[in-house]
């Protein structure tokens, strides 16, 4: 019974991908619209991607491919790590102590509507070089997401847990370690996943605008040099790497929060 269901799911999924593939191929090759003709076709992309000697220099067999991936990953993870190191403590303090929140809330709300990518030109003008500028912008995005979600997570902790801990004789450091951090953990990890996604998203923009290596750069260069299949290679790789990074965070979170998995019903809320 179960295997039949699983087979059906897998079957339909394969069908979905196959259909998308065929649609893509058909629309590029056979539709009488010039717009579609200009797009790279899936077969061409695959050939290029898997070829030992790609026409445009990027395939699974070239070192350059991995160099670009590395650059992008390095930027994303550096900015992300910085955002976590600064954002989580700030979020915790904002959620815990009203005074901290009052100081930071107004400032953050004021700066928030400015899209992170709008900072790119300024960052480039002000920072000594493009690398720090790009990392800075990515950091901003990840920082916001992390701080906000951490803050919300701390606020959402039921006040009864705080009270219980105090009744039992907990001091502030105990409350931090035993109530705030575990209580906000689920929210923090959600925030981290969002931050990671947002980091990749702005990284690409930064790279397209101003960098010399990286997947965003690959995409933009390929477009400028009329190397269309490479565009798609870059896009798909981006999606994949970004997904893997988010998944890693999710797995890390699951391991740290075994108790969350094991609870059959919420103890409270």
């Amino acid at each position: 019974m179960l295997s039949a269901i699983v087979n059906r799911r897998v079957g339909l999924m394969v069908f979905g991908f196959a259909a998308a593939f065929v649609l893509w191929y058909a629309s590029v090759k056979w539709l009488p619209f010039p717009a579609f003709r200009r797009l790279p076709d899936p077969v061409g992309v695959l050939q290029e991607w898997l070829s030992r000697d790609p026409a445009y220099g990027i395939s699974v067999f070239t070192a350059d491919y991995y160099v670009h991936i590395l650059y992008s990953t390095y930027r994303a993870t550096t900015a992300f790590a910085l955002a976590v190191v600064l954002g989580v403590p700030l979020g915790i303090m904002m959620g815990w102590k009203t005074t901290v929140r009052e100081y930071s809330d107004a400032l953050l709300t004021l700066l928030r509507p400015i899209p992170p990518l709008a900072w790119v030109p300024l960052a480039i003008l002000l920072f000594p070089g493009t690398e720090p500028a790009v990392i800075f912008v990515v950091f901003l995005v990840a920082f916001y997401a992390t701080t906000l979600n951490t803050w919300v997570g701390v606020r959402a902790i039921d006040v009864a847990y705080f009270r219980a801990a105090l009744c039992l004789g907990a001091r502030p450091v105990d409350v931090l370690r035993d109530v705030i951090i575990p209580g906000a953990m689920p929210s923090i990890f959600t925030g981290l996943q969002i931050a990671m996604g947002a980091a990749w998203f702005s990284l690409v923009a930064g790279e397209m605008i101003a960098a010399r290596y990286g997947l965003g750069y690959v995409i933009w260069e390929a477009y400028n040099l009329i190397q269309y299949p490479t565009i798609v290679i870059g896009m798909v790789t981006l999606g994949f790497v970004g997904y893997v990074c988010s998944a890693l965070i999710r797995v890390a979170g699951d391991r740290l929060m075994r108790w969350h998995q094991k609870n059959i019903g919420a103890v409270r809320g």
Binding site: D158, A160, Y161, R163, A164, A165, L166, C167, L168, G169, A170, R171, D174, D178, V179, P182, G183, M185, M257, W259, H260, K262, N263, I264, G265, A266, V267, R268
Partner: protein
Amino acid sequence: MRSVASAPATAVNGAVTIDAVGKVYGETVVALEDCSLEIAAGEFLALVGPSGCGKSTLLNILAGFDHPTRGTVTLDGAPLASADRAAHPGPDRIVVFQEGALFPWKTVLDNVTYGLKVQRQTAPEEARARALDMLARCGGLDRVAHQFPGQISSGMQRRVELVRALINDPKMLLLDEPFRAMDTVSKGRMHQHLLDIHAQFPKTVFFITHDLEEAILLADTVAVMTTRPGRIRSRVAVDLPRPRHARMIASERFVALKEQLIAAVHEEALKAFERGERELA
């Protein structure tokens, strides 16, 4: 962390005096007014009254989550709360909450030993041994010592929470409608468990509830609070013999006590209702 001034002069342990306590929120909301109550050491006192009359406010003041705007509270002769004294919760009076506040991210055992751990006066091995012992004595709960609260039933959770409180040897236990969210059968079992635990570890207990039968069954004294602003309007001594059991509910004396309480509470509820109507109109 405040330390409760231990009062060697008095032999009692856990005697509470609430003296003309008042609590006003903002400028206008008077939750408590001229509320006075004496609780003897080791007495099990149940507080009943209409919704919103201020029972939880009083509990919060006793627990140290809030402070009165007027009046004083003393514990064994030492001042506990007053208008000019910031509230400080502590392990001399521990609360068991309505919907349970076991830390879901700690195992049962870690929950129970938590108080001892943060008070830093007991070695971890000794704390663990004591915890397992108490858990065993409260209905064989040592079986689930290494599970998470989300994995055990709510009745067990409540019992574990009681153990978590009692292991710290508090002077007073504060229970804020702890069984409110439970179904009748579980509730009945919990009553029996609580009576057993109280017999093993007698403490002063301050128990808030809506359920009059529960109050009479469990308590030595039942106090009735008026509608807002809350005052203690009457005390009824429950002279049923201990150990109590559920069958007593049908006894004559029980029924008489219940009728007495119903009359008192009903009158207050009616006043609250009428005032509510007037405020809306």
